[in-house]
């Protein structure tokens, strides 16, 4: 309870847009929980409600069993990165961290510690307005770590990072979770989380679509599918489609078949004289599992013009 982020039945309407529609999930300590969904699915809104910035119309959001706004020195409980660009450009990065530290009863020593931790180095003494997006992300992560909090909530921390930065943050998130912290990381790209998150909460249209371990999600999306390697894709597709299978192209000489078991695929291809070199149970990527889960939400957004918030 002490380090759990709990969201229950959140509903939030901005004018005509229903941003949250019964959002419910729990972030438990000791693992990285991915928070994924298309843009406009309600990820940022949920985080703002948890942080007490926006008030939900219905539902509750608790951090460590308490509403965020009741916390004294909240940054010692929850570290958050919402928008790395949300700082005054004429102040130096170090001074930005310094006022935040002072607001929590912390001193300049802790500021220098987190500057070292995120590798901001000498840039910390330059105006933050001149930072690249990647440096701003590092500054934002430094701010989130300032109070050494047991809970962390990072909104799209991968945005603007170079490959080296991506590797760094994946390692950082992993070690923060290994230290027993609850870590919630949002992204609109599942692939960014594939190697980082052990658990994902997939959202669409303001509510949870799936809340599962990454391994289960992949197993679910793989079920009943067959990967076929063939030099004659067109013929294979014709034969299999004729038998009622759904065929999608997945590579230069591979297709994914569903609706027909592997044995039957082999039989059909042999009978039809179609050459093939491999028939195997399909192993879905997290990305595929995600696309399947959020397809409805994406279609909805395309139909309505997708008011994102």
């Amino acid at each position: 309870m002490e380090t759990t982020i709990e969201v229950a039945g959140l509903r939030k309407r901005y004018g005509p847009t229903l941003a949250l529609d019964g959002m419910t999930f729990t972030v438990t300590p000791g693992r990285v929980t991915g928070f994924v969904g298309p843009n406009g699915a309600g990820k940022s809104t949920t985080m703002r409600v948890v942080l007490g910035l926006d008030a939900a119309d219905e539902g509750t959001a608790l951090v460590g069993g308490r509403p965020y706004r009741s916390l004294r020195d909240p940054l010692r409980h929850v570290g958050a990165l919402l928008d790395a660009g949300a700082l005054q450009p004429s102040r130096t990065g170090r001074h930005h961290l310094l006022w935040l530290a002072h607001s929590q009863g912390l001193g300049a020593r802790r500021v220098d510690e987190v500057i070292d931790l995120v590798g901001l180095g000498s840039a910390a003494r330059r105006r933050a307005g001149g930072y690249s997006l990647g440096m701003r992300q590092r500054l934002g992560i430094a701010a989130a770590l300032l109070g050494d909090p047991p809970m962390l909530m990072l909104d799209e921390p991968f945005n603007g990072l170079d490959p080296e930065g991506m590797v760094w943050i994946r390692g950082l998130l992993g070690s923060l979770a290994a230290e027993g912290r609850a870590v919630l990381v949002s992204s609109h790209l599942m692939s960014e989380l594939e190697d980082t998150a052990g658990h994902v909460v997939v959202v669409g249209r303001g509510r949870v679509v799936a809340d599962a371990a990454v391994a289960d999600l992949i197993a679910g999306a793989s079920r009943g599918r067959v990967t076929l390697r063939t030099s004659d894709r067109a013929a294979a597709t014709a034969v299999l489609a004729g038998a009622g299978a759904a065929v999608t192209v997945s590579g230069r000489d591979t297709v994914t078949v569903s609706g027909v078991p592997a044995e039957r695929v082999v039989g059909l291809l042999t009978a039809g004289g179609v050459p093939f070199s491999e028939v195997a149970a399909h192993r879905a990527t997290l990305e595929e599992a995600y696309m399947e889960l959020t397809r409805d939400a994406v279609e909805f957004r395309a139909a309505t013009g997708g008011a994102a918030r």
Binding site: R48, L51, G52, L53, D54, A55, Y68, R69, L71, D73, P74, L75, A80, L82, D83, G85, A86, L87, Q88, P89, S90, R91, T92, H95, L98, W99, L100, H102, S103, Q104, G105, A143
Partner: protein, 258 residues
């Protein structure tokens, strides 16, 4: 509340734009006072001028700087989105407003003291050359004179109250440009509004409601009987505006999504 004040103080002193406005407040106020004093003459006894009010005339320019400083303290955060970082770190919104008001008062007060004393000194040096001599009924300006001291202290408070009024409006409006427009409109447009109305009763009522006309009554040292409001009552009108703006801004800050 102590942490909020400390954080807001650190913010203000590490924002070069805000820091530069403080000397600007002093310099512009004194310079405008010099210009006012240099543009009038008192050719003979009974010229009817209020020498103290002339010497403190620069306050009418200085108030714009105080207003801009106060608006930027809030509007600068809304413009960049940093307000969300502020309210995440300090979720007690009333305390954030109070801390900003305290820090703003803390920096505006010494700047206002320098600006107003500098203006009085400028008047003391410039006015005698313009005919404001003891022979014409104008002894040198001095803080030992009761009404002069009241005008000086009142002018300092006037500048601080303008800053607080602007802070409240900025929290309500949440945009620097719009807030500066509202504040300057309130200070300058309301000052000339009574002149554009024919009806004397309305003229009087508008004068009494105008934060700048009423507030600057505190600078008057002659013809007090002819003023629509006594000096301190006039400053009270401005104080009421400031309290209303801070209360309104605070209520909106608490009620609205950040």
């Amino acid at each position: 509340m102590r942490r909020e004040v400390r954080a807001e103080w650190t913010k203000l002193r590490t924002e070069p734009g805000a820091v530069r406005l403080l000397p600007a407040l002093v310099v512009l106020t004194v310079a405008a006072s010099v210009a006012v004093c240099a543009s009038v003459t008192c050719p003979a006894a009974g010229c009817g001028h209020d020498a103290v009010r002339l010497a403190l005339g620069g306050v009418q320019v200085g108030q714009a700087v105080a207003a801009v400083l106060a608006v930027l303290v809030v509007g600068g955060e809304y413009g960049t989105g940093m307000i969300r970082t502020t309210l995440t770190a300090m979720p007690r919104r009333g305390a954030v407003l109070a801390a900003k008001a305290a820090v703003l008062t803390g920096v505006t007060l010494p700047a206002a003291v320098l600006a107003v004393l500098g203006s009085l000194l400028a008047g003391r040096l410039v006015l005698p050359g313009r005919g404001f001599t003891a022979a014409h009924g104008h002894p040198p300006l001095s803080l030992a004179d009761g009404p002069t001291l009241r005008a000086v202290a009142g002018s300092v408070l006037y500048l601080v109250l303008v800053a607080l009024l602007s802070l409240g409006i900025a929290f309500a409006v949440r945009d620097s440009a719009a807030a500066i427009g509202v504040v300057l409109g309130l200070l300058y447009a309301s000052a000339v509004l009574p002149l554009m109305v024919g009806d004397p009763d309305w003229q009087l009522a508008l004068w009494r409601l105008s934060p700048s006309n009423a507030g600057l009554a505190v600078q008057a040292t002659t013809g007090l009987d002819g003023l629509p409001l006594s000096p301190w009552a006039g400053l009270g009108v401005l104080a009421a505006w400031a309290v209303a703006a801070l209360t309104g801004g605070g209520l909106l800050l608490r009620a609205r999504d950040a």
